[in-house]
Homo-oligomer: 393 residues x 2
């Protein structure tokens, strides 16, 4: 079964579970602005006019679409009914609502779950106008619970694709480590990753982050062409790829031995082990039903009680079609994260676990692993890094 | 001057002209959902956390951004002030509003202009919450007029890029025409276009539409692998590319001579000339200040009075960073087009002019040209097709 068919069927099961009568995805000009829900509803990337994708609790699959946009949707053979229009979508939509009389209609907006926030405000106003003389205008609800579940609960096919993406980026990390030379800039290292991507025929899941030594700029910025590898530096690489539409997200740490050094200095070893053990502690408590913030707290307190500064980001985000997938976040209760850390972890969610310590003398010491939530716990999908990789140059 | 700097300065001039105090573009997780306004505000394609881009009528350029997302924006050297946050955007935003006390704050929503409808409904609700105890909650207005002007009024650099895109697709059209062979399917023809794109190092502006003969499926569907070139068929190709971020959109028509034919049949010639003359008539009336629907009407009535069926789409859309650029549409007053056909044409708008006639015996007869609006009229940017191309196979 193709992935979209699998996800559409999963969505209907989720509607039944949540007792939501209808899920309405209302889009237009998808080359201009693209509701992320579309990835699960169609492989047609080019919808010029207003289009409604409608799934009902009873299992009906309906699309209302401008005539010229219809052929690619018809070809998919996923939808039971494809209603074409020439002039406007209103009649078709009111017709369907009149036929199914939904008591709740989920639409794609959410304050905290970006994955469920694909409906633009202008389109929302248009929808309100279409519904203004009907009872349906008061039956709109957020689709955030649908999308948390739909994106979060990976199907076997989705898990396989993510595993492949992980495998490819693990190879990329190893190849990069073996290529490090003194004097290479962060940009040089990024170019090696890029060349490997071309070899593997994959794309980045996100622009890779490369942090070399203590002068590096931490954040989501481009690698620097001014900062280069020296002895006694940490080289931290955050690199993931897309395979079959699904992402990986992994960090690996390499230490370049200093003059007269034969092993990692104690300060680096202690920092690395603290990060690693914080991840182990947090992972040991992951299971379905636990809130994201409870797991985040374990790692955060571990790092702080070991005497390091707090890391100013979430411990773990979900990974899927986007490297930062929506729904439950293993993060702290900070304003910017909204309600996401309060949501509960579910089986077959795939999360990163990442955190860092900054060492003034050596640089950015960070690890990022990926796990899948199982019925009673979690398993690591990555080959965990158990100690810093060491290179002598 | 880089294009983004040029457009940011143009935006400030537009705020002054429209007497709008502030333009606020509020985004998050731009890899998941991407407000089209961002193309003019930053070349950073990866903003993880909530970010506000703020331009004021007085010419202030401000960004409020999560710390880790800041480096790429700092590097651009476009913004006067970059305010970093760790926990949430609220304080920074209220601070800026308190400092400038705007009477009007334009935000990106619009019922009819997709280009100005980048704010999601969930983010809109978040914004309302941030502003709830302030006077600013009642000062929000749509940015549709700003974006109609900003996207519609092409700067010299934008015009140059579009001209290059046109040149490349004109060459692509000619090369394709010279490659047509009997028995080639629509898919085969699309593959030739694709190979030429790779040669030119450009990407499609949209999936090309290829319509061969009378059995073709008209619309935005993929080319068919079942429908192939025969003698006596029309081959219509709708193909545009992206150059330097800007699109072209052109249709060209080829006629494959039938057995014993030495020229285009009268029926095809008459249809082609009707389309061509309808475009000429419409173009002759284009000038700044005329409404889009008035121009559309000229071509529409021309086609109908020549005895053909009405074409069920707009005569002309703008072209820019998207092949269907927002703002004024040269289209009919149909529900699906909303207010766009009521807007006025402006100098330096770039439009397509396209329409078709369907010939039951030969296929889809369509032309699409591109024009730039000048101070007093318009000029064609394409080398107009003056008669169907003819091939003997």
């Amino acid at each position: 079964m193709c992935l979209i068919k699998e996800k559409v069927n999963q969505a209907i099961a989720i509607l039944q579970e949540l007792d939501i009568d209808m899920w309405l995805t209302y889009v237009r000009k998808t080359s201009e602005i693209h509701d992320p829900s579309l990835f699960f509803l169609t492989d047609s990337t080019w919808l010029t006019w207003q289009t409604c994708f409608i799934l009902t609790k009873e299992g009906k699959k309906i699309v209302i679409v401008g005539r010229y946009d219809a052929p690619n949707i018809e070809k998919q053979e996923i939808y039971d009914e494809i209603i074409l229009y020439d002039l406007g979508i209103k009649d078709g939509l009111l017709n369907i609502l009149g036929r199914y009389k939904p008591k709740t209609i989920a639409i794609n907006y959410s304050e905290d779950n970006v994955a469920a926030d694909g409906l633009t405000y202008g389109l929302f106003l248009k929808l309100r106008k279409i519904l203004e003389d009907t009872p349906y205008k008061d039956r709109l609800v957020s689709s955030e619970k649908i999308l948390s579940a739909l994106r979060g609960r990976k199907t076997p096919e989705e898990v396989e694709r993510i595993k492949q993406a992980i495998k490819i980026s693990e190879i990329g990390h190893e190849l990069l480590k073996d290529s490090i030379q003194l004097g290479m800039t962060e940009t040089d290292l990024a170019n090696i990753l890029k060349a490997n991507n071309e070899r593997f025929g994959v794309k980045y899941a996100y622009p890779p982050l490369i942090n070399v030594g203590p002068e590096t700029v931490i954040g989501h910025g481009d690698p620097s062409s001014k900062i280069s590898v020296k002895r006694g530096y940490l080289v931290n690489v955050d690199y993931g790829v897309i395979y079959g539409g699904y992402a990986s997200d992994i960090q690996r740490l390499t230490y370049v031995l200093g003059d007269n050094e034969n092993s990692v200095p104690d300060e680096v070893e202690k920092a690395f082990n603290t990060c690693k053990n914080a991840i182990t502690e947090a992972a040991s408590k992951i299971r379905p039903g636990v809130k994201g913030c409870e797991i985040d707290k374990i790692a955060r307190e571990y790092i702080i009680s070991a005497g390091y500064s707090e890391f100013m980001h979430a411990l773990g985000h979900q990974v899927g079609i986007n490297v930062h997938d929506g729904g439950c976040l293993i993060g702290p209760r900070w304003e910017k994260y909204g309600q996401a850390p309060e949501l509960k972890i579910e089986e077959n969610n795939i999360f990163t676990l990442e955190l860092h310590v900054y060492l003034q003398r050596y640089g950015y010491c960070s690890i990022e692993e990926m796990i899948r939530v199982t019925e009673n716990g979690c398993i690591f999908l990555t080959n965990r890094q158990t100690e810093p990789w060491v290179v002598k140059l």
